[in-house]
Amino acid sequence: MTAHLVRILDRVTRVRGVRGAMLVAAEDGLVIAESLMEGVRGNALAALAAALAGRLGRAAAATGVGSATFVHLEAARGALLLVPAGQGVLLVTITDAGVNLGLARLEMLRAVAEVA
Amino acid sequence: MTAELNPRFTFDGFVAGPSNRLAVTAARTVAESPGTAYNPLFIYSASGLGKTHLLMAMGTHARSLSPTLSVAYLTLEEFVEAFHAAVAAGQGEAFGRRFDAVDIVLIDDVQFLTTRLETQAELLRLVTQQLEAGHQVVLSSDRPPQEIEQLDERLISRFAGGLVVDIGPPEFETRLAILQRKAEERGVDFERAILSAVAAFEARNVRELLGLLNRLIAFQAVNEGALTTDGVRTLLGLEETARPAEAPAVAGTTDEFAQFVSTVGAALAQQMDSWRRRLHEARAYWEGRGYRVQRITGPLEQDTPVGAELLIKRFEEDVERLQALEQEMTLLEPARAGDPVFRDPDRVAEAEALVHAAKEGLAPPPGPSAAWAFEDFVGTGSNQLALTAARAVAEHPGTMYNPLVVIGPTGLGKTHLLHGIGHALSAAPGSLVACLSAQDFLDDLVQAMERHRVDAWRSRYRRATAFLLDDIHLLAHKEQSQEELFHLFNALLDSQRQLVFTANVPPRQLEGIDDRLVTRLGGGLVAELQPPDRELRLAVVTRELKSRQGEVDPDLAAYLADRPATSLRTVTGTVQRVVGEAELQGGPPSVAQARALLEGTPEPARRATPRLRTSGIVVSPSGGVRSREKVVWRWPNITDRIIEDVG
């Protein structure tokens, strides 16, 4: 089952600058499937991303802008991209600074469509 | 003809235990007082449980108590041979005579009666003859009477008439006691643990148990070493499955665990046996009382253990219900009370339906009329005796004055008092008070006779908890209704139910009434109502004026009370005439007006409207037209009743 999911994730990690993508159970913060490069701590990323998504979701709802559809966290040496994949699943991607953001976003949305 | 009694078989030699206590006690009672307690006594049990021993023990014990007693013991085979020999010798008829002088007849193994019809006939004759002569008959078999195929129904009912009792397989304690007794008899002693291990082994009957003991004694004699419980089990060749109670002897077990298992086995077996014993006891008890016990025998036959306590409790609850229903049916339709459905705890619902149907077919007897409340009855000197008697009857129905007869000329309130008592009596829970006039009683009976439903009519009144009859003198010269009243009177009096009658003359002066009734009427208390004294008249006048005018003119009341009147009815009649007259004149009634009206000096004032002649006939709003004012009808409202002044 996860092999199928990993193949979908590979399409995202193929994008230049992406260092890893994973499907995470939003509720529990646990990894469902991952396709990561060396040195990426999957468990930590999953837990933290899920917690982050949870809080951001609540914030978005509170401000009346509706639930989040795409989260982009720009950081000094890279970025964190989050997309909800339905039924409490989250697609999390971690990239370094030189990533082609548009392409990464497109692949993520296409992958999410396939997973849901 | 009779085999000799074996002296070895005595009561002391018979080991009693829970599984046979019932049979042993019955046998002992019969031996001590033959022909009185349980006759005939029928003992059944699987073979090898001591039936023959018990039969012979009864014979020897009876003879030891009174040596002159003649006791005959024979098996059924011997009975058949003797009978055939007699027939062959042409004394078939006289065969029964041989037992004339025999005080106790003991017949063993009667299960061989199956298919032997003429032997059964002869046995029936013998049993009947012995029972009539007060001689004791004891029979034994390996199964209960109903399970002996094609056994004559009359024999079964004869046995059921006495006591049918069984001996169950011995449980642990009895088995242990038997082993100890036999070991002593054989002069051999074993350790208690050894005997209890053998006892825990579930032998099916005594014979098998003694067989085990013999093997033990033989083994003991052969090898010197003391026998251990392991040895016992290997000796008895117990496999784990075949003989449940014992765990297999396995190397390395110390006897502590084995003892634990045998204790558990014994306690369990004892419990398991207890359910079988409890069911046997319950069956013997209820079968003896004529109830069908298939619900109890079911688990026994299929040998499926059940929670005996619960099953018996439910069974007994159903029996209680049946007994209550049977009670009720005897009141409703005595003929139907014997229906077998009342003897089968599995058919309680049917019995309920039967009683319900019987109840439906029967309307309750007419009750006291609402118009006459006890409280409205004005008590004064003239009717004090009758009133106190009425109150006493209301408080202690059926025991104080029974019957109570209230006598007095018409119009003094006899009917009012009668119905008042009726109301007071029907206040008690579950009471069913019949209160009607003799005329209705008569009409009802005539109608019942026309429709041939006299027994239903009878039980309709017999169900009453109190019977109040107004104006019994109206039954003069009516033999049939007096006859019925006579029987009803006895039935109700016997069961201490209250009877009240009214009559216009004392019982002795009643003419045309059956003498047996007259004497019975005199049997209780005869209370006489006197013509109303002034105090009573004043009370009635005040009550009437208040109900018609609201306020009461004391002078008018006193004037009206002083006028002589033989009955309350005249008093109320006068008041109503005065009030009616005043209404015509407009304005409240005054003494002058009353005097003028009553004493003939017409009022000088105008007499415009012709006086309205009342004929005493009234059409009451409830639509009933009654010409005789005596008959009480549903008068919901007192105001529309105008009564002719009968003077």
């Binding site: - | 502590e256 204790t263 369990l268 359910w275 409890r278 059940v306």
Partner: protein, 199 residues
Amino acid sequence: MSLVNFTTREITCKIVYYGPGRSGKTTNLQYIYGRVPEERRGRMVSLATQTDRTLFFDFLPLELGSISGFATRFQLYTVPGQVYYNATRKLVLQGADGVVFVGDSQARQLDENLESLQNLQANLLEHGIDVREVPYVLQYNKQDLPRDLILTPQELDDQLNFRAVPSYGAAAVTGQGVFETLRAVSERVLRKLSEGAPA
């Protein structure tokens, strides 16, 4: 658990060894374990601390084979004695058919025995079991200790045996009195057999 199942013809008895800490409950079970033939017993489960204090329970299943047509099984439990473990002790009492109270005969342990008896009553009540109804026997363990340290069974009876139930002196370490106690409580449990049985 219901004692008798008439349809499947099985009998299961749960007997719980109760008592203050270190009174010898587990030793009772260990002695029994040693005396039961191999295929008559299951594994003995001991949920204990490193220092062999019973933490949750010891459990010894016994298979007695078919008796009067019923497959008969016994389950022996012990509870942690220390007051501290009341929460787990309470759980073990669930569905007990019989109780063996293992008292410590040492004179200095008298108060602990009393406290544990009251605790037994309270915990039984919480499970809705009336202490008067449940079959129950007393064992005065460690009778093998020097005379001056311990009370005699008679003295212990006066102090502890309010309900006049059978009581047995014992020395679980040597096995003396162990099976006697087990037999007594088993008989009392089975005596109550027929009352509860469903029709």
